[in-house]
């Protein structure tokens, strides 16, 4: 690695208000070395973040293509376009690939890896070699799943419910199960790295309540990684043993209970939904103050809400099983606790809105994505409460209402936050500015395409159309065609960023150290940052988000 900072770099470190001049090319982490070995055997958290970015983008394309097949098949009610079996394999691949190979690693593994050391003023994560191992474990798991996809696909749905997945499905279930088990370890290693780094490697003066909310939410996400993933690893090990050696624990013929698998599965899978949501909230909590040039409203409440969410989410998994033969007592308990989970999310949404109040807004692309996020995430969250109400659940469980609900959270929430974050930190990651007009066009396309695709599905849901149906009664065709049409607009919206962002790598304007006048240690260093992140030891501001316009803060007077 080249020396930490050149002469003029030190001058910048002494006087914080002059943004450090853009270091000349060879000094930043992208151009310090360019051999293949330096990329595939790197221990630099920034390069590992880019490795993850490349692999999850590839998997996003695979998942999106599978979604395209699903929407194509549903244009006609009688399944003339696609056989039932192909449709089942398409929606299973869409589920497995999107959940485990895109959504879960998307924000933590790319932005988390890249930004957490920068934001807390550290040189790297606590265990750099472990970080690289987590990428290779991710790719191994991905390999197994791709083998299952290539050989003939899986037709059990991403939930792999026994006894269908263990005894009655004769598709390539085993490689898919092994793939998902292995990719679970990649999440555990990433989570472990983050928890230890955030606890032990903060720069001097960086106390917990000076950390950006992005770091708080990733700390909460890492807790969920550590506490939830092992249980699904075991559930899948038991499923593999059940399918390969006929262990019988989930096989009703010997007295095993398939509902036990559902308990173990959902103990992980509901917190996994919060693994997808919390990093999105972190990104939005960085974008909104930056583009409103105003301090985040109620910083401490948002921080506590992140940790609160990470703990309460472990008490609610039963709301996926109200009608699956669960005892009435359990259903009552899980329903009541599910209502408590909605509170921390509501806190965050109202805090973002209050931050925008009396700010000085710049409606660039990241802010458009953030505002889209707030709107769609609120809708997604509250439709979740519909499903948590016992009587309503009996009507809309396993219908398109559920499909619409979780797409509003995952696509309307996490994907918009991912794209917003991608645009917000693109100058910091690549040292180039993306083209602003194209950014806004793609944000608009995605927002419109998303709503046209998924809002009709709410209506289909309470009309009673079950999910995972290859053929459906003709009276639902109109809304399904509308939804499929919307999905084409959404697909177009996704293609734009892939084009103009890559284009900006060579032709984009050079980005200064802090293009958005944002606060946070990652903006104090150059874009792209030097291999060891900071020229000298970074100076930690007294107050996080100390933007010129100070909002109400509990008893803290504003500068």
């Amino acid at each position: 690695m080249s020396s930490a900072g050149t002469l003029h770099g030190d001058a910048a470190a002494r006087d914080p208000h002059i943004p450090p001049p853009t270091l000349d090319r060879p000094d930043d982490y992208l151009h310090a070395q360019s051999t293949l070995r330096s990329w595939f055997l790197t221990t630099d958290h920034k390069r590992i973040a880019l490795l993850y970015l490349a692999s999850i983008t590839a998997f996003f394309v695979i998942g999106a293509v599978a979604a395209g097949f699903v929407r194509l098949a549903l244009v006609v009610p009688d399944g003339a376009i696609m056989t039932n079996d192909t449709y089942n394999k398409a929606f299973t691949i869409h589920g497995v690939v999107m959940v485990w190979f895109f959504l879960i690693p998307s924000i933590p593994a790319t932005f988390g890896n890249f930004l957490i050391p920068l934001m807390i003023g550290a040189k790297d994560l606590a265990f750099p070699k472990l970080n690289l191992t987590s990428w290779y474990v991710f790719m191994t798991g991905a390999l197994f799943t791709l083998v299952a996809v290539v050989l003939g696909g899986v037709d059990t749905g991403w939930t792999f419910y026994a006894p269908l997945s263990t005894a009655f499905s004769n598709t390539w279930v085993l490689p898919a199960l092994i793939g998902v088990t292995i990719v679970g370890f990649s999440s555990i290693l990433t989570g472990l790295n983050f928890v230890v780094t955030i606890h032990t490697m903060r720069a001097p003066g960086m106390t917990w309540f000076r950390l950006p909310i992005f770091v708080w939410t990733h700390y909460a996400t890492s807790l969920i990684f550590l506490l939830a993933t092992p249980v699904i690893t075991l559930a899948l090990i038991l499923l593999i043993a059940e399918r390969a050696f006929h262990v019988g624990v989930f096989d009703p013929a010997y007295g095993g209970d398939p509902v036990l698998f559902q308990h173990l599965f959902w103990f992980y899978s509901h917190p996994a939904v919060y693994i997808m949501v919390l990093p999105g909230m972190g990104v939005i909590s960085e974008i909104v103050p930056a583009f409103a040039q105003k301090k985040l409203f109620g910083y401490r409440f948002v921080a506590y809400a992140a940790i609160g969410l990470a703990s309460v989410t472990f008490f609610v998994w039963g709301h996926h099983m109200f009608v699956n033969g669960q005892s009435d007592l359990a259903s009552l308990a899980f329903s009541a606790l599910s209502f408590a989970v909605a509170v921390p999310s509501a806190v965050k949404v109202y805090n973002w809105t209050a931050t925008i109040h009396k700010g000085s807004l710049r409606l660039d692309t990241p802010m458009l994505y953030a505002m889209g996020y707030i709107g769609l995430f609120v809708l997604g969250g509250l439709t979740g409460l519909y499903l948590a109400t016992l009587a309503i659940n009996q009507h809309i469980h396993a219908t398109y209402f559920v499909v619409a609900h979780f797409h509003y959270i995952m696509v309307g929430g996490t994907v918009l936050a991912f794209l917003g974050g991608l645009h917000f930190w693109w100058p910091k990651i690549t040292g180039r500015m993306y083209s602003e007009p194209w950014g806004r066009i793609s944000a608009l396309f995605i927002f419109i395409g998303f709503n046209v695709t998924f809002f009709p599905q709410f209506i289909l849901g309470y009309l009673g159309m079950p999910r995972r149906y290859a053929t459906y009664p003709p009276e639902f065709q109109l809304l399904n065609v509308l939804s499929s049409a919307g999905s084409t607009i959404l697909a177009a919206g996704y293609l734009f960023p892939m084009v103009y962002l890559v284009h900006s790598l060579w032709f984009g304007r050079r980005a200064p150290g802090n293009p958005w006048d944002a606060k946070g240690l990652e903006w104090e260093t150059a874009s792209p940052p030097p291999p060891h992140n900071f020229a000298g030891v970074p100076r930690v501001p007294k107050v996080p988000y100390d933007y010129p316009i100070q909002a109400q803060e509990t008893g803290r007077q504003h500068t």
């Binding site: 699956n324 009396k358 409460l385 469980h397 396993a398 209506i459 009673g464």
Partner: protein, 320 residues
């Protein structure tokens, strides 16, 4: 099937409980709008009002932030809890059937439903029930997890293998509504639906006595023909299995291995299904067909034979 307009925006409700569920949904929608519309309006208004460069009063005051935080955390929570209570009350009510309810046995198996009425009649995929009388459906599954979903009654319950779960309702409106399987159960999960026909008491008794006979056995037989796997071999779906085509078998002369030729009547087909090794075909290869004795119930066997009788006209059988 009741022709609904292409854009019906609200499903028909056929029981008092269904109407009450609708009230919960509508009430909760009102609350959701109360909680979210202000957020949407606020964001768009603030985005325009406080844009960079717009001069606006951006002074801030300190006092109320903790109070605001607590209020917009607890007020929505308490409001939503009311709906939790209401929903729970209705849910518990739907789990405790009255003692005098009429019991219908339902069995789900891969890709068809079979309903057994208390008076003995059974039907495949379709269900005829009386209104104004509590009905209890006891459900189990013979293979994977299915779920009986009656949207018109706003009810669904899982069909678990080797376990009986139940649901009850008291319909109050006649008509034909949809019936689905709502737990993913494999390839033809979406074919496993049918019609729930609710009739007055008199019509139901009338249907029970003789209406049952006209029920199209061909569709039911076809469902059985597929579900028990006959289609797999006899329609040539499974490669490498030499099984005689069954289209037009009924009434045809059949040459047996021991030289006799007999006409394939209902008894012959029934005996062949129950015991395939008896009077083997002439020149037939290795006998691969499993015996269905004890597997197929007598009433299903009648339907299967009825279906085979009717296949002489249509080679593929009545495709629903």
């Amino acid at each position: 099937m009741k022709a609904e307009s292409a854009l019906a925006l609200w499903p028909p409700a056929a029981s008092a409980a269904a109407v009450e569920t609708d009230h919960i949904i509508l009430g909760f929608t009102v609350l959701t709008l109360l909680l979210t519309v202000p957020v949407f309006l606020a964001i768009t208004y603030f985005a325009l009002r406080y844009r960079q460069g717009e001069e606006a009063d951006r002074s801030t005051d300190e006092r109320r932030s903790v109070l605001i935080e607590i209020s917009w955390m607890l007020i929505p929570y308490v409001l939503t809890l009311f709906f939790f209570g209401w929903g729970a009350k209705l849910f518990i009510a739907s789990r405790h059937p009255p003692p005098d309810a009429m019991v219908v046995e339902a069995v789900g198996r891969q890709w068809m439903w079979k309903f057994q009425h208390p008076t003995g009649q059974s039907e495949i995929n379709d269900l005829h029930l009386p209104i104004d009388q509590p009905v209890r459906i006891r459900i189990t599954s013979q293979d994977v997890i299915h779920a009986l979903y009656l949207p018109a009654l706003r009810l669904q319950i899982a069909a678990l293998p080797d376990r009986t779960t139940e649901i009850w309702f008291k319909a109050d409106r006649t008509g034909t509504y949809r019936l689905y399987c709502s737990e993913y159960c494999g390839t033809d999960h979406s074919v496993m639906d049918g019609n729930l026909t609710l009739m007055t008491q008199a019509e139901y008794q009338d249907w029970l006595t003789h209406g049952h006979a006209q029920q199209s056995n061909v569709a039911a037989g076809r469902a059985l023909y597929e579900s028990y796997g006959c289609a797999g071999c006899h329609d040539g779906a499974v490669a490498g299995v030499k099984a005689p085509g069954l289209a037009g078998l009924y009434g045809r002369a059949v040459h047996l291995a021991d030289g006799r030729t007999i006409t394939a009547d209902a008894d012959y087909i029934r005996a062949k299904i129950l015991n395939p090794n008896e009077n083997r075909l002439a020149g037939g290869g290795k006998q691969v067909m499993p015996s269905f004795r004890g597997v197929i119930r007598p009433d299903d066997l009648d339907r299967l034979v009825g279906y085979l009788k009717a296949t002489d006209r249509v080679a593929e059988g009545a495709q629903r």
